[in-house]
């Protein structure tokens, strides 16, 4: 079967500025593709190009195997939630949601059913007779969602559809979307900057930067094996610690030497057999630096560190220290004894680290 | 230095040249002339402007006004008295009595006449008449007979433009012919109800209905000069129109008597349309001096001659030598003299000389409604009486 969406060598410019450069992505029926990337990297533009709302400067967009490059948006059989909502200002919430169905000649009863269902999912039942101008930000966003959810298209496009919802509602919505995805086997392209959303929803994540795709992979691949420094740095919150280090191969494995603020250095040993250049950047996620007493993993290496800052954050406490000239964050227990200025024994999980070349930024292991 | 701001509606080429003569004379006598022309709607626009000017306390020195309108403005108390000029120049004797009557307001002179247009003219294409062996008609029956003949020959008997004032123009010519001068005066000057509802009046409307049959079907809204063109081209044979139509013939290089013929419309009498200047009350000696100078010049021999040569009308004063005028004008002047003597020199109602606007308008409404529909003459007469009553 042809991929449901296939983007080949897509280029897009606004005037002389190239916004999207050589985008190649394909997703299968039922895939859930999440687009992530820094603000302004071209995610919305890519969605717009897929929807046919912006003319593309090069390449092609195929949906369901057909070249859609010159097909108008309304014939592409897609539903879309806009980052800016784009509600119809003169229609009530109910009309906003049912209008598409009405136009397609769906009968009244079905319309009413679907409306009721979606309104209940989105918790907007009391708002159905309001105009968009009289809604709160989050309510507007939910209406925008509703407009897409009543449809039954080949492809859903969501542009940060939950950004204005409170955490609780967001979790519920996320679940709704996931179940919609599973129930209908619908294909989705989803833009978000919420890492948890990306991780829990995606079957495939695309990380973009400045209009160029950095990595495509499953959430686990992206999280655990970032393809380059950018991805490593971008995914995960708090971000992965990226610490310049010297690598030296030895018989017991590779020793990694990291400069301390106080002078001297901290030495860790990775027992795997790696062939690393001398200058590397070691990437280690905060949750892989823990209180020594708490963890005892096979690949853990313990070391003492002087903590600079302690930031309690409910379930965890973050500790910041300086290593290799960088601020390094560790995620400790909420009840950790760590305190600023005090030496603390920490465990580094070397089974989970990534190594990058400082010059190219590419992954080495 | 005498100054005058003159509100008038003579703006076409020939008219403008005529006024320029006056301005020149005025300037030669040391006066300074400010021109304030406002054409349109047979002077309606000028009257609109005049009203606004008077109300804003900024009346012009002299205004082209005619007929009963002069008296109406006088009643508003805004006219000046120029009796001194009139008496010094002996207007009483040089002007026909009925025309002089229009220039006086409760015995004092308040306006100066410029010219006399004859309205009840009938114009004809000489060639067409010749070809069909037709003489200029002198009664309406003759006219009808000639018209029938022409119609058979495939020629439009009567060129006419379907605008209310043109309808009224032929109407008054017909009325004068059928009612006779006295009947006309009773009906359209004195608004005598008996005459208005008489059988003769029904006959007038009947004749109008007959005339309607001699007009081509496309006449609605046609300008009078296009109708004149039709006569000129031989498309049509006759046109009933004031003597300004002569200007169109002349402008096209036609010669009276050869290319086209002029005759008074069938019947006795002479309907005149006299243009005149009324003087408004203004402040300032220079303006007052201007008014007097203007009045004097307007009625002066020279201006009366030159102006009317240009304009196609005839002088208001009867003592101007007519050597330079064309045959039609001379005919007009003779007729005026004769009519004046036989008390058949009558004001044109269609051109606002006989009645106040409201009454004249009421009559025109009926005339044009009748002419443009299949209303019966009896109904028309009834409407006429009602309309006049309602306009009082």
């Amino acid at each position: 079967m042809a991929p449901i969406l296939e983007i080949n060598n897509l280029f897009k410019s606004y005037g002389t500025v190239e916004i999207l450069k050589d985008i190649n992505v394909a997703i299968e029926q039922g895939d859930f593709l999440v687009l992530v990337g820094p603000s302004g990297c071209g995610k919305s533009t890519l969605l717009n190009c897929i929807a046919g709302l912006e003319p593309i400067s090069g390449g092609e967009v195929r949906i369901g195997g057909r070249d859609m490059t010159s097909v108008s948006p309304k014939d592409r059989d897609i539903a879309m939630v806009f980052q800016s909502y784009a509600l119809y200002p003169t229609m009530t919430v109910a009309k906003n949601i049912t209008f598409g169905m009405k136009v397609r000649g769906v009968d009244q009863v079905t319309q009413a059913e679907k409306l009721a269902h979606v309104a209940q999912q989105l918790q907007i039942e009391p708002l159905l007779n309001r105009k968009p101008g009289h809604l709160s930000g989050g309510q507007r966003q939910r209406v925008a969602m509703g407009r897409a959810l009543v449809r039954d298209p080949k492809l859903f496009l969501f542009d940060e559809p939950l950004s204005n919802l409170d955490a609780k509602l967001r979790v519920e919505m996320r679940t709704e979307i996931k179940s919609l995805h599973q129930r209908l086997g619908a294909s989705m392209v989803y833009v978000t900057h919420d890492q948890i959303e990306a991780m829990t929803l995606a079957t495939k994540i695309v990380v973009m930067k400045g209009g160029v795709i950095q990595q495509i992979g499953t959430p686990a691949e992206i999280y655990n094996h970032p393809a380059n420094l950018f991805v490593a740095d971008f995914m995960g919150s708090p971000a992965m610690n990226l610490i310049p280090a010297k690598a030296r191969s030895g018989s017991a494995g590779t020793t990694i030497e990291i400069a301390r603020k106080s002078g001297g250095s901290m030495v860790l040993t990775d027992r795997k057999n790696l062939s690393l250049p001398e200058d590397v950047i070691i990437g280690v996620r905060p949750e892989n630096i823990a209180d020594a007493n708490a963890h005892s993993r096979p690949d853990s290496q313990e070391a003492d560190c002087v903590i600079d800052i302690v930031e309690p954050a409910g379930a965890d406490t973050y500790a910041v220290m300086e290593l290799g000239g960088k601020h390094v964050t560790a995620r400790l227990h909420a009840e950790t004894t760590a305190a600023p200025g005090i030496k603390q024994r920490l465990a580094f999980d070397l089974g989970k680290v990534s190594y990058f070349a400082p010059d190219t930024g590419l992954r080495l292991n | 230095e005498p100054t005058a701001e003159v509100l008038h509606y003579w703006t076409s080429g020939g008219e403008a040249k005529s006024v320029a003569v006056l301005q020149k004379e005025f300037a030669d006598k040391g006066g300074s002339w400010t021109d304030m022309p406002v054409a349109g709607g047979g002077g309606d626009a000028a009257m609109t402007a005049l009203r606004a000017r008077v109300l804003s306390g900024n009346a012009p020195t002299a205004v082209q006004l005619k007929g009963p309108a002069i008296q109406e403005w006088y009643e508003e108390g805004v006219l000046a008295d120029i009796s001194s000029v009139a008496e010094a120049n002996d207007w009483e004797t040089v002007l026909p009595a009925s025309i002089a009557g229009h220039m006086k307001c409760e015995g004092t002179w308040c306006a100066a006449p410029v010219n006399v247009h004859r309205v009840d003219w009938i114009w004809a294409n000489a060639e067409v008449l010749n070809a069909n062996g037709i003489e200029m008609p002198t009664t309406w029956d003759e006219f009808n007979a000639a018209a029938d003949k022409l119609q058979e020959a495939g020629i439009i008997p009567l060129a006419h433009g379907g605008q209310a004032w043109q309808d009224a123009t032929i109407f008054e010519a017909v009325a004068l012919g059928i009612l006779g001068p006295d009947g006309y005066r009773k009906a359209f000057v004195e608004l005598d109800n008996e005459t208005l509802t008489s059988d003769a009046m029904i006959a007038v409307f009947d004749q109008m209905r007959t005339l309607r049959g001699y007009v081509d079907s496309n006449f609605s809204g046609r300008d009078w000069n296009l109708a004149t063109s039709m006569v000129m081209n031989g498309e049509a044979a006759f046109q009933i129109m004031g003597d300004w139509a002569k200007g169109e013939f002349m402008a096209a290089g036609k010669v009276p008597g050869e290319d086209f013929l002029c005759a008074s419309a069938p019947g006795e009498g002479f309907l005149y349309n006299v243009d005149s200047f009324a003087m408004f009350d203004v402040d300032g000696d220079d303006k007052k001096a201007g008014q007097e100078l203007l009045a004097e010049l307007v009625v002066g021999q020279n201006f009366q001659k030159v102006f009317n040569l240009n304009k196609g009308s005839i002088p208001a004063r009867t003592d101007v030598a007519l050597d330079e005028f064309d045959d039609c004008a001379r005919l007009s002047a003779d007729d005026m003299q004769a009519s004046s003597d036989s008390d058949a020199l009558l004001p044109s109602y269609a051109h606002g000389m006989a009645l106040r606007g409201a009454q004249a308008g009421a009559i025109t409404d009926v005339v044009t409604a009748h002419f443009n529909s299949d209303m019966s003459s009896a109904d028309a007469v009834q409407m006429l009486a009602d309309g006049i009553a309602n306009s009082m």
Binding site: L53, S84, F99 | M47, E76, A164, S220, N390
Partner: protein
């Protein structure tokens, strides 16, 4: 003091217009009402005589025609001009390359004084000179187009010329409205699979409701005040078949020196306007608050 000034700036800004309107519109309407109760002729008089002017007005067959014409003319003109203006605006909104030129062509009739265009129209509509003669000249001997000279149909030629003159402006008004609708919303509709015509009818046009109010007011104002048009095209004829209240009033006030009569007809005209515009205005302004 400064604070007071600041709080009341919006009202102060409106004040001059408000005062001007009070005096120069409502004051003058009151003046007209007064005059309509007098026997004013050439110039206004102020002795009240009662309702004679209204009695005269309603006894006048010409007024009857004029008044009836107002409804025929007004309805046709407003509806057609609105529909045509909107249609043209929508067509022009389709990324037309020569938009500027076409827009100017549609608009230019407004630029020319009706004093003269009326003459051109008169010729075009005249069966013996214009369209009918032309088409017959092409060999269609039976073609007739003689509304101008038919007392029952002449009013439609006025409608035609009026539409010709004003629909371009209505188009411009709607075009401005169309251009102010947020593009994102249109995109959303496209993705929603809404056909273009529905995008216009269901989304863009409702969003332009206030612009409709503008167009409606402009057109009804033109309908009520149409004056030069009639004078230039038919002069009210044939007979007075194409008279409108505005021409009636003008004739009374300025050709016939019957100002009292003119004032009474003006009052009736304004009454008509009032009864049509006020309900519309009410619903329009209400829905804005709701």
């Amino acid at each position: 003091m400064i604070k007071w000034l600041e709080e009341n700036t919006p009202k102060l800004v409106l004040a001059p217009s408000f005062i001007a309107v009070l005096i120069f519109v409502y004051g003058f309407i009151a003046w007209t009402a007064w005059v309509s109760l007098t026997r004013s002729r050439l110039l206004p008089k102020y002795e009240i005589e009662g309702f004679i002017q209204y009695e005269r007005l309603f006894a006048s067959p010409r007024w009857e025609t004029a008044f009836g014409n107002l409804f025929v003319f007004g309805t046709l003109f407003i509806v057609i001009a609105m529909v045509l203006g909107l249609a043209l605006a929508i067509l022009l909104d389709q990324n037309i390359r020569t938009e500027g030129a076409i827009r100017t062509i549609y608009l230019y009739p407004m630029a020319l004084s009706m004093i003269v265009t009326g003459t051109a129209w008169k010729w075009i509509l005249n069966p013996g000179l214009g369209l009918e003669a032309m088409v017959r000249g092409w060999g269609f001997e039976n073609f007739t187009f003689d509304w101008l000279i038919d007392p029952d149909k002449a009013i439609y030629t006025i409608v035609l010329a009026a539409i010709w003159q004003s629909s371009g402006f209505v188009m411009a008004l709607f075009l401005a409205g169309l251009r102010s609708v947020d593009g994102e919303i249109i995109k959303a509709a496209q993705v929603d699979g809404i056909p273009t015509w529905r995008v216009y009818t269901a989304i863009i046009i409702p969003a332009m409701a206030p612009i409709f109010l503008s167009a409606f007011i402009v057109l009804s104002h033109l309908a009520v005040k149409s004056f030069d048009l009639v004078i230039a095209l038919t002069g009210g004829g044939p007979g007075y078949a194409t008279d409108l209240p505005a021409t009636y009033m003008y004739a009374m006030a300025f050709s016939r020196g019957d100002i009292g009569q003119a004032a009474s007809s003006a009052m009736i005209m304004m009454l008509v306007v009032f009864s049509i515009v006020v309900p519309y205005l009410y619903s329009e302004l209400r829905s804005k608050d709701g």
